[in-house]
Symmetry: C2
Subunit: 869 residues, 2 copies
Amino acid sequence: MLKDLRVYAHACSAVTHDRVAASKPQHAGRSAGAARVSACATLLVLTFALHAETGHDAWLRYAPLEGAALVRAQSEIPAVIVNLDNSPLAASANAESVRGLRGMIGRTLREEAAIPREGAIVIGTLDEIRQAMPQWNLQADLAPEGYWLKSMDSPGVHYTLIAASDPRGLLYGAAALLRKAAMGESVAALDEKSSPYAPVRWVNDWDNLDGSIERGYGGRSIFWDKLKAREDLTRVSEYGRLLASLGINGCSINNVNANPRILSPEMLPEIARIAAAFRPWGVRTAIAIDFGSPKTIGGLDTFDPLDEKVAAWWKTTFDAIYAAIPDLAGVVLKADSEGRVGPSTYGRTHADAANVVARALKPHGGILLYRGFVYDHHMDWQNLKNDRGRAAWDNFQPLDGKFDDNVIIQIKHGPIDFQVREPASPLFGALEHTNQAIELQITQEYFGQAHHTVFLVPMWKTALDFDMHAAGSTPTPVKALIAGKTFHRPLGGFVGVSNIGLDDDWSGNQLSQANLYGYGRLAWNPDLTSRQIAAEWTRLTFGADPKVDETIASIQLSSWRTYENYTGPLGLQTLTDIVGNHYGVNVEASERNGWGQWHRADEKGVGMDRTVATGTGYIGQYRPAVAKVYESLQTCPDDLLLFLHHVPYAYRLHSGKTVIQYIYDSHYEGAAAVEQYVQQWKTLRGLVDERRYKEILAQLEYQAGQAEVWRDAVNTWFHRESHIDDTAGRVGHYPGRVEAEAMTLDGYAVRDITPFEDASGGQAVACAARGGSCSATTKFSGAPGWYSLRVQYFDQTSGVSHYRVWVGKQLIDEWDADMQLPRAIRLDSTSSTRRLIPGIALRPGDEIRIEGRPGGNEQAALDYIEIVK
Amino acid sequence: MLKDLRVYAHACSAVTHDRVAASKPQHAGRSAGAARVSACATLLVLTFALHAETGHDAWLRYAPLEGAALVRAQSEIPAVIVNLDNSPLAASANAESVRGLRGMIGRTLREEAAIPREGAIVIGTLDEIRQAMPQWNLQADLAPEGYWLKSMDSPGVHYTLIAASDPRGLLYGAAALLRKAAMGESVAALDEKSSPYAPVRWVNDWDNLDGSIERGYGGRSIFWDKLKAREDLTRVSEYGRLLASLGINGCSINNVNANPRILSPEMLPEIARIAAAFRPWGVRTAIAIDFGSPKTIGGLDTFDPLDEKVAAWWKTTFDAIYAAIPDLAGVVLKADSEGRVGPSTYGRTHADAANVVARALKPHGGILLYRGFVYDHHMDWQNLKNDRGRAAWDNFQPLDGKFDDNVIIQIKHGPIDFQVREPASPLFGALEHTNQAIELQITQEYFGQAHHTVFLVPMWKTALDFDMHAAGSTPTPVKALIAGKTFHRPLGGFVGVSNIGLDDDWSGNQLSQANLYGYGRLAWNPDLTSRQIAAEWTRLTFGADPKVDETIASIQLSSWRTYENYTGPLGLQTLTDIVGNHYGVNVEASERNGWGQWHRADEKGVGMDRTVATGTGYIGQYRPAVAKVYESLQTCPDDLLLFLHHVPYAYRLHSGKTVIQYIYDSHYEGAAAVEQYVQQWKTLRGLVDERRYKEILAQLEYQAGQAEVWRDAVNTWFHRESHIDDTAGRVGHYPGRVEAEAMTLDGYAVRDITPFEDASGGQAVACAARGGSCSATTKFSGAPGWYSLRVQYFDQTSGVSHYRVWVGKQLIDEWDADMQLPRAIRLDSTSSTRRLIPGIALRPGDEIRIEGRPGGNEQAALDYIEIVK
């Protein structure tokens, strides 16, 4: 049998020997000998994958350089590497450098203990290098965690310094040097200082202790299984390595909707094991906690933050945790939100709640990230003054200055919840005496989950670069505010809700890795452009071909706009089932309930009036310079129009187009763009390794079908509601489409679909014949020629139906409906799936027959077929 | 989980439904719906492999055409396909055409019952086409199984005919049309008639009924498991499809060293199931039988071929077999050879034996392939007149004319046994009144098995094209003789000992598939050049890149000479362990025993004197024109010198070089050539799909190490025997080599190796420390610089040892010795394996330490290290 061995070492410990090879491979050519090793001072990391690229190595593939890049790198990289620092982090930096350069230039650097008289890479803090080589007279003012890549010529000898003020900086410096080499850049004459934009650069992994992941689409948890840390934490080490390469320095390892059990004593060794796996990579572990823990776990009769017993319990609890994990980064706390208990139980404030925990952390250097995502989800939807968008500001602005210095308010980038388009949260501009961090969602909850390609960096940059006008005439972009630069706060930064799991490719698909990469790069330096980040990621992940770079960049950089175009333009927010799977189309799901994601679309108009003048007053939460722009229809950007204003459908945008026509047009544009992505991707055949090429092609083809479902559903809904026709005549008219309910049915029964817009014509056909089959037949009456057939069917999770397509007596295609779509239980837009059958020669009179054979509880349902050129 | 689904349909039967998908894949992009289908008249074959190329599709990948080739094919291929023939073979031709064209041009042809008024591919026998379209007035004289690809223009409409005289020809015609399309050739103006060179084009699969395969290196049997036909015979159908694409029309499905049980009644349904799987592909099933069956199976007291009871038993037995399998092709019989019983038991002749079986087959149209591989393996090696090479002629020439017309003598291409260089068997020229077939060994028994790359087509062509001067001045190449052309025999042709098994890639490695392809192509048309066959195979298997074609052709076309150069040049035959695994080096294994593969090397000279004048007289078995050339040292070709003559080491070849120096030089050339293959292959990175690229690279790297083992072993042996130095000073002097026995040993003990030439210096070191480890250390004293380290170690099958290499305190490499080499039990050249560690920076005084940790019964043994630039 072929093996795909990966061997991975991270910790500085006694030499161990642990054979991985379980069975002997049969063939010589396929021998993949490897064993696990971790040896102090000699950290060796071997990777051998005889098989295809799986995505497992992500952007740290260290693929061999070729041609001129290889020749230059081999001439520029010295033979020796010296590590002057004895920390585990420097050992990781050293080992990763050796591993990476071995992969890229095919040479194993000599690890030496002292700076030799020949060229060398020298890893060390400034103090250590100064002590070893006083004659270099090195001078630099390096920020914490920052690094300095510096070429240094002694007479006749060339050194490459990876200098830093602390060991974590050495790790990041080594990653930067490796990135340069992998990008094909020269490393001969370096003088580059870099330091992180903000001190807090965390990821939050919403992993449940049972091993599932809230909003996780990349497989099960790498941390947890059955209420314990997983026995094999290799993937945690590997994740730490990925994070370290980006400069991420903290990771919260359990769901922010925290299981109180995380603070029970038996969990402490579990957390400690995970922290140990992360530690060599400079990633400090954090945990999410439940505010009711003093009662549920501690056995107290209260969790009132002002109760001394409660404060003492928090202190005792964290003293014990820090005794086991002295470098715990801190805690994430979600309180009084979406059913979580909080200080409101005792009439206390968020500041009371935050401070009681923060004070228990303080002696140990821990920090508390207190989530600003607090709102009432039982609001009266009929009260037009109610507005969930106001909640963060209303809850936290009045408390500005009441939080301890080791508390950070963690604020989602928009006022609602990671929708496809939101303005930056007004709270960013409202806290002057409180630390803050921006919460960005890397995992694509509202962005097609693992199935749609959306590169989120341009969206995040829109928020980060948005000027809140919070300090007079000084520009105060969100990034400066959250980094603490504007109001000189000691703490602040970035929190990303991560998107990884046990899947081979981490994120459930290959392209979503770019969002983790982009998040990390922005957290280090938010001034990087989206194009720069896309170029880096593509080159590191897929290699140096310029066509690959251009094609992937073209897809990635347009993908947010494309997704917005087909799921909710003009600030409508993602028109998905917000009370369900957050995936399929359901235009009305946001209405007539207390969740407050209202778009207020009715037969006359659409949009949430958030003006001060006539609406909820939300716009008034912004500083005047911002509020003025948003308040006026004349200046409000089209992209946010319906988020901030209610207008009639015939209202004309700055572009001159009516709102309703823009909705129609954008949905057609979005769906067409994804079709174009498929064609663009196909030009990369042979330029991208075969496995990933095929996986991404299949994903884009699925997305193209799903974009059409969205296009038709949203347009159908607005057409029916507004009674205004599409000026281009497309909505409601689908050339070549034959509704299943209009076909000759044998066994199939017509079903009304809910919501009606989720099926073409509001209906589908379903087959109740368990063990048998049904068929739907139509006669082709077009001109003879080559056609593609598109069969729109429903792939539910409740079974595996089998479909066959016949033209006359000829079976031309068949497939199983065996995808696992997100909670695809019903016949709706989530389960609606397209099968493309290209290259069919049709002649007038041909009978086209779809045969469906239900499997499990699935009904082999059909929406329509399309016969297109 | 990702799935690699293959769905495959072959039989014309009732519509069945059998879901393949066992579990739901988790991700949309990875959905691979498929199901098994077989439907009469509508044969649909779907293949969907989301993963990398495994080699499973071999040369029938039908990969999408690209660019101009696609545009042309789409314009040339009509929309309709009509099959006028109702045989299962024509149904296969039709289905394969639809499948192949769908893969290549992305279109599904319309299957119609009658010739339409628009362009169409028309499949039918000449009679059927004439009847359907009398106005075409088709005239052709097509040989059995031949085809005619013919473009036909009716007014305004263009047809492409696949015409034949019989259904099997339709299958081969369809394969030819698909091959043309896959090769990127135009199919617009066809007028190509082709018929097979010989009627018998068989493969022999030496599969044992227990599922093992004699001389099989591609996994276990696709036919048998535990004395029954395998439950799942999908692979047999797939093999049938591969064979049909080459025009192979018969397959013997069990080892020629036949288990008598094959003729027991309970095996009949098993054979019938296999025959059914082959049948749609025109491959007729044959069986190998044991001549003692009348006694062992039939319960008679004799198997004397002249006994009437015996003749009656054979008749009854085959009547029963043909009742179940009316199209059984016939029988293969090995008698009186290598321990098999035969007619000699009763003093009868091979003709008696052959005819008694042939007469039982005759009424059913069956044929008997009687193996000419009959020799005495207990010959007195001390008698210089003894010669195994004479045996085939001596046994069969006197019987010429005594065999029935449905008997074919199956003659190995050379007089010995598939050695690296043999002259064509003289028996080919000696049978004028007897049918004959050439037996070619596709499986690489003496050619490195699954581990060395040797493309055998050039060798086979050397035999097939050799003129036996058997009919006066008319050229009588072997191919003409075996095809029956020279002496107007009714039967004859080709038998190939196949190389396939259950492995994904069929043959245990990717490149060996080319030998099966090449055999089949030669059997159809032996006038094809090796270059043509290599080009076809490469293009069909790896795509159209000219660099891939040139590189693979360059490797393949030189690979036989290369292998000969390092394993036994000048007609020495493969200097392997002929009484052992037929794989490792053992120069003396062929001597001092009765097997007769003697090369007679001693301290004075080398070679078998087979002259008439002074030797065994073997040369006198050839017709005079051939014998004259071979008998004289002046005219005997260098390549066969030592096969035909005994000469002193200082004897000068036609080239002027001495024999001993040629032996030295050729071994260095051979080893260097394989090193060059590795470099050539590396230039294909990114041009060949990743998985196969890596597999082939690993195989070539192993082969390069093994070629060095051969080089040193053979040269060492001849150097020691001849006492003549290599004029180039290489033999015995290995720059950079440090013998393990000369290193500082800790725990390792020195062992003498047998045969001595199998280890450098005749010794190795082995570690007896079960559960512990041993080490061997040396100090580097060369100039500072970048080096490669080669560690020559022993990878036995009896365990998995672990090796580590340290330079000073730095661990620079480690691996498991976990290959499965052929019967690699001892410390010898078979288990001797090279680990290459490139890119090591060494400085004078560096301590290089190899640590070995035995696993199982393996001893983590070492031969030497080499430190090279």
